[in-house]
Symmetry: C2
Subunit: 524 residues, 2 copies
């Protein structure tokens, strides 16, 4: 084979990924990725962030992509390394985030020998990927990379992107490379039919017992303005899915209540609605199935009116709905700026959130993995300075610290605040080290309740009665208590404990003043 380009497959791939906008690589490389790593130095446009665990890399790529709208990029080591990244790929898949995973693999010839690290890498990739391909030769790997970018940039029902996993046998990296390839544009997101718009508009015009249920990227500021106008004009209500990838909210934006998580409260919340119009969100379902309780959350007899999912052009659909409901000229209700007073006294999730709402600067990015502690604290920040709110989307805990890392690298001029349950933080605490290395402006707030608090409720909800010591031991993070300040310090992140509202405020001020990461263990 001729090699007129003078570059190897790895370099042709790195250059292709940069062309495709995937220019920050969250990496946990091993031997099989060494040529890719070596190529990084020869390509100016690519930055690399070392992650000390693969779940950090995949969660960070998700956070980066949610903030940039471009494909998040990971570099992982063989099947087991990809395995370690699956949980956060699951979350990214449920968020509809565009992600490209480059997974190193044994050389094509070496694979047949069942070496210790050999596994079914495609098999590992498939459950959490929309698109999987194994590179066949070094001259084709640039085009494979371009195809991965296109696949990642293709909208899915959940949102604007997909998970694309490209497996890179080492010889396709070290062999001669072709010229970098240019990714094809992804398919244009489809327009909703006129009939669907007319049906939905008719339902919305019936007013307060119709719900416009939103998800995917219909909860950014611009589409929410249209949804708010429709609500203002028709009296219909708007609400977001329980878990949303990225909401633009705060002062000057349309406030969006979210469907609560607990099964009984969510059933109660949807009970008043006779019609639910779906726009970027599916027919609402419970997080888990419970004995004697329904999986679908809408009341019996509620009419479900599906308009669009993430594969559709949601802005276009909202514009046409606004037109059809006569809401074009309506002025949506916008949240006024109203910073709460700094709280005093006991530290609770509520008082801590009041401090955050009072002090957080405009443009803050909240990465919310509060699980129990933060569940009812969203309204406190509704009138804070305008900000972004990123959530755990697939229910697989351990997303917060990596998501915050990725968001901070995507938006280095903005403050990131990671609201984090202690149990969840333990899954991917290694992200703190990468935050320290990159001077990521992340304040991590650990809700230190020393338990998997959510499970105490769940144990009751599934009808498991009178738990004994062994069961309760499985829900407790005591004995020993985790010392989060020590853990942060061990990874180069300064931190303090807060035990009162006042000390939390002081800690938060210190954290916001840092030119890098900071951690507050909030003893609530």
């Amino acid at each position: 084979m001729s090699n007129d380009t003078g570059i190897n497959g790895a370099e042709s791939l790195v250059r292709t990924l940069v062309k495709g906008g995937a220019d920050v690589c969250f990496s946990n490389p091993g031997t099989s990725e060494m040529h890719f790593v070596a190529a990084l130095d020869r390509v100016e446009g690519m930055s690399c962030v070392l992650c000390l665990f693969e779940g950090v890399a995949t969660g960070a790529a998700d956070g980066w992509a949610r903030m940039t709208g471009r494909p998040g990029l990971t570099l992982l080591h063989l099947g087991p390394g990809l395995g370690n990244g699956l949980a956060n790929l699951h979350n990214a898949k449920k968020a509809g985030t565009p992600i490209v995973n480059i997974v190193g693999e044994h050389t094509t010839q070496h694979l047949s020998y069942d070496a210790p690290l050999t596994s079914d890498t495609e098999g590992v990739a498939r459950p959490m990927s929309h698109w999987v391909r194994t590179g066949r030769d070094s001259l084709g790997i640039a085009q494979d990379g371009a195809d991965a970018i296109t696949a990642a940039s293709t909208a899915s029902p959940a949102g604007p992107g997909q998970i694309a996993t490209l497996i890179l046998p080492a010889d396709t990296a070290w062999g001669p490379g072709a010229a970098p390839a240019t990714p094809a544009a992804p398919p244009v997101r489809g327009k909703v039919s006129d009939t669907a718009i007319a049906t939905a508009a008719q339902a919305l015009k019936l007013g307060a017992d119709t719900l416009l249920f939103l998800g995917a990227d219909a909860v950014l500021a611009a589409p929410l303005m249209l949804a708010g106008a429709i609500a203002k004009k028709t009296g219909a209500r708007i609400m977001g899915r329980t878990s949303l990838s990225r909401v633009e909210r705060g002062a000057g934006r349309v406030a969006l209540p979210r469907l609560p998580y607990p099964i009984d409260i969510s059933l109660e919340t949807l009970k008043p609605f006779k019609r639910i119009v779906l726009l970027g969100a599916p027919d609402p379902v419970a997080f888990f199935g419970y004995p004697g309780k329904p999986s679908r959350l809408a009341a019996e007899g509620t009419e479900i009116i599906p308009v669009a999912d993430g594969t559709h052009d949601l802005m276009d659909a909202l514009e046409r709905l606004a037109e059809a409901t006569g809401a074009r000229a309506a002025k949506p209700i916008l949240a006024p700026l109203a910073r709460p007073a700094l709280p005093k006294g006991a530290l609770t999730a509520e008082t801590a959130m009041a401090s955050i709402a009072a002090l957080m600067p405009e443009g803050t990015i909240i990465c919310d993995e509060s699980v129990t502690s933060g569940r009812f604290t969203g309204p406190i920040t509704e009138n804070a300075a305008p900000h972004d709110w990123l959530q755990i989307t697939g229910g697989s805990i351990g997303i917060g610290p990596p998501l915050a890392l990725g968001a901070a690298i995507a938006a280095p001029d903005r403050q990131v605040i990671n609201l984090e349950a202690d149990g969840s933080a333990m899954y991917t605490l290694q992200a703190l080290w990468s935050q320290a290395r990159t001077h990521a402006k992340v304040v991590t707030v650990i809700w230190s309740n020393r338990s998997y608090a959510i499970l105490t409720g769940e144990l009751a909800a599934v009808g498991a009665k009178n738990p004994g010591r062994k069961a309760l031991d499985m829900l407790s993070l005591e004995n020993p208590a985790l010392d989060w300040v020590a853990l942060a310090h061990g990874m180069g992140v300064p931190g303090v404990v807060a035990e009162s509202a006042e000390s939390f405020t002081e800690a938060l001020r210190a954290g916001l003043a840092e030119n890098g990461p900071f951690l507050i263990e909030a003893r609530i």
Copy 2:
């Protein structure tokens, strides 16, 4: 359906697992496993160890099973939770360890609604499992559990067990259960043919240029005595695979050199042999493929004589080989007890290992994930008190701290020493918390070289020349340095830094005196 037993599916399953000898459950439960958790309190024979990350649970189950010979048991939460456990299941699979994973799942009816945590759980399980089943109803789940025990206890080519994954929809746990089931005995391990024995015996009798290459459970003390007798009688050499699940070694045992890891040294090591007899080990292959280097490590023209793999009765094969080579009465060379003098001066992996060899008590279990630092330190302990040596078997890093946890719980009267690379330890550092909670007698020695040192060599080995700053950043754990004593302290484990041979010895004495875990950050 009748429910004469008065127990639910979860309890019928827990009782079945206890009958099958799987009576310690390394758990990271979520909502869908709450009935299983509740059942723990009603079944006396089952102990539970909470792990704060699934990779800890699977690695600990591996360590427990390697030491007890019974199926290691995990409790995991849905597809993403299983995903987090895959890397150490990969290691266990390559070790041939018997493992039963119980993976909670949505109720059968809820699965159709694509709730946030829904994923293809069987798809996640398959690449790292020999046996996968999803429970269909609560009355059948006891038999499913019994079948999982039988599958896990069935020998595989790698060793005495297999990975069995039983997926447990929540309704199969909370519905009425049948009586606990009794697992069927696994298939008896096959006998090697007389022809194979005769061929191998003939080769061994040719003496020093024949290698008896050992793996699986042929490297425990009893089979090694036979292998040592054959070597003594015939002059043939014995050697173990590069990575072994569990070797019984030290004073009074037959010393077993292992095939080194680095490609050039391993090729050199095998060069002298004209014949390689395989007993519980495959035809030796390189860990990775490298440009211009072979995948198979035996020299061109070396005769490969396969006798048995892990599915065979290896003791029987060795007894018949001893008979056929006239080695029945031969006395193998046994390692004499010779504790080294306590070292002075600079702290290196070698001097630290001398301290360990001098001080470790009889019956110590070494869990070795040293990667670069420990590679040549095995011989130093050859004449130490008799001990077990457990290794990373599938090359997927992050096994050491969990393996040590599981081994300590399996053998509470024995000391465990975890030799651990800093980069690897970061993958599953959460294991320290479970060590603290269970007062596991584990001394963790962190080889703190502040880099993925192995990759520096690998970068050169694959021919990636002149790495620049970006590439080198991907191999360095500096900036910031990890403070292992702080990390351990954060999880309730006392620890110290050692910077000289003398301070290492002092730290080791302190660690061995602890009635629980201890960590030494060895700055080498």
